[in-house]
């Protein structure tokens, strides 16, 4: 897959792309229609969209700065001044949660992107070339799956050091096997299709076949997995931060907020309760939408 042979013969495009594109755009239109009929999926999408808006408008929405401490009003219960109360340093919890949405979304999207890109590449190579490469890749994947995922993330974090950036890398690596497996199995079914044969006959090189013909046809399961993986990634990142391995103070990350507040749970349960609720709502949003997407892409399952 060197860049020198990306220039593929032009004649291939005219023959195979239009038919596929027409097919896939109507498929996605159909999926979109089914998705909009699914109330819980729309609800999930609503949560995600709200979250994105909150993250973008954080400086406008947050009543206080997220790291603004006020020792006099430490651990204050929810009130008109502080809707969700204050934490052990007198910081406004609502403001921290609002800013925290930026971190959670970022963690979810970036770590899943890492998992998706590298997982898809490995899956494509394993599925398309087969043989020795396939064996090697799949054995490495098997070894990664031999670890309970959070433990593998902890192992990677203890190498990379406790930082939010490293947590995203660790979670990306931990979630990579699922994408590799999904892409590999899709490639195995797709690669025998006639249009792949046709592209080969027309002289398309491997990277063109892999990325232009095979990958687009594995997209449906990848998108479903990506959506559901964002949910897990957010949970895992919060877990790493809770263990002190992810975001470091004073970053308003939800898991880290929970961890910092847990010694005060007896006197100020809101310090722990609200960040947890924020995580649940976010993860629920991605889970509902991901489930809906899966049902929409596989209507047979929904009928059951």
């Amino acid at each position: 897959m060197t860049s020198s042979n990306i220039e593929a013969p032009k004649q291939g495009t005219d023959l195979d792309v239009p038919a596929q594109e027409g097919e896939s755009s109507s498929l996605w239109k159909e999926v979109g229609k089914r998705l909009l009929k699914n109330k819980t999926a729309v609800f999930g999408l609503g949560i995600i969209v709200t979250l994105i808006i909150v993250a973008i408008l954080a400086p406008l929405l947050a009543p206080y700065r997220p790291t603004e401490t006020d020792i006099i009003s430490r651990l204050k219960a929810p009130s008109a001044n502080h809707w969700l109360g204050t934490d052990e340093l007198g910081r406004d919890i609502l403001s921290r949660l609002i800013y925290g949405s930026r971190i959670s979304l970022q963690v979810g999207v970036i770590s899943v992107s890492i998992a998706l890109v590298f997982g898809a590449i490995l899956g494509l190579i394993a599925g398309y070339y087969g043989g020795y490469l396939d064996n090697l890749i799949m054995r490495i994947i098997d070894i990664m799956l031999a670890f309970p995922s959070i433990l593998l993330a902890i192992a990677i974090m203890s190498i990379l050091g406790p930082q939010l950036k490293n947590a995203m890398i660790a979670i990306g690596i931990v979630n990579l096997p699922r994408f590799a497996r999904i892409v590999k199995s899709s490639v195995l079914t797709v690669k025998e299709e006639e249009y792949v044969e046709a592209a080969k006959a027309l002289g398309a090189n491997d990277s063109r076949i892999l990325f232009k013909h095979l990958l687009p046809n594995c997209m449906a399961p990848i998108i479903v997995q990506a959506t559901l993986s964002i949910a897990t990634a957010i949970l895992e990142a919060a877990g790493l931060s809770f263990l002190g391995l992810g975001a470091q103070p004073p970053t308003p990350e939800w898991g880290a907020m929970l961890s910092a507040g847990r010694t005060a749970i007896q006197v100020a349960p809101w310090v722990v309760a609200f960040p947890g609720l924020a995580i649940i709502i976010t993860v629920l949003g991605f889970n509902l939408f991901g489930d809906g997407l899966r049902d929409a892409l596989d209507p047979k399952m929904k009928d059951n």
Partner: protein, 334 residues
Amino acid sequence: MLNYIIKRLLLLIPIIIGVSIVVFMIVHLIPGDPARIMLGERATAADLARIRAELGLDDPVYQQYFRFLKRIVKGDLGTSIMTNNPVGEELLDRYPATIELTIFSMLIAVLIGVPAGIISATKQYSLFDYISMSGALLGVSMPIFWLGLMLIWVFALQLGWFPASARISVGVQLDTITNFYVLDSILTGNWTALKDVLWHLFLPGIALGTIPMAIIARMTRSSMLEVLSNDYIRTAYAKGLSKRVVVYKHALKNALIPIITVIGLQAGILLGGAVMTETIFSWPGVGKYSFDAIMARDYPVVQGCILVLSITFVLINLLVDIIYGFIDPKIKYN
């Protein structure tokens, strides 16, 4: 069948070697001087030299790895920097606590999750179905450490129904034989201790078991629904069989394979989740031990904990694969 088991055991060897390489790398990929990172900035030159010599950090990496492998095969997992005790011995002390908690959580997850899934499937779109599936969805979206803290807050701190930490009350006597407290109290006929041990297991067990319970319930429901839509189920009803027989004898048996797969996969969630649950509930197991070790940068202990928990996970997966053979006669072992 025996051939299959042997073959499956042989397949474990490369996996376990792979796991050991990853665990080995934890120390060797740390940027900078591992000895200094482990001992901290105030370490003396002599201490650093001792650790380097002990870990053989000056030798080529492959030699270090083979030495590491030789050590762990002999059961020598190195020495804890925190306590100076052999890691193997400390793990052995804590392992039963983790396994006991894991089994208890798994029991809760299966005993509630499977029936809830079956009822949901047989009464699809009923009130029960909606409530249990909403609960399950909430369960899979919940951070385990948050659930643990909330359980402590409500049931230990506010209501005082259950203890928030430890495996047994201070005043309760128990002669330990296996270090599995439930088993020990049964073996010694110590019912006071048994009651106390179960009482302590309850909250951490629920915290750890909730996510697997939710996943198992969802899987059971969808697996049952798929089977119940088959023609042979209609035939069974047409023959005049009762709903009970159809559901439990015909449908459940065929729905079991994916359910068992999912139950097996939960072992990973449980063993990984043990790190957080044990930390929150001050449960003296491998999970809390690994958390303390991470905080103290005690790398030999971190390595030991990850190795032991991962190998446990691998063995559970092996067990699940073997169980398939007994449930599904269609599986051929070659």
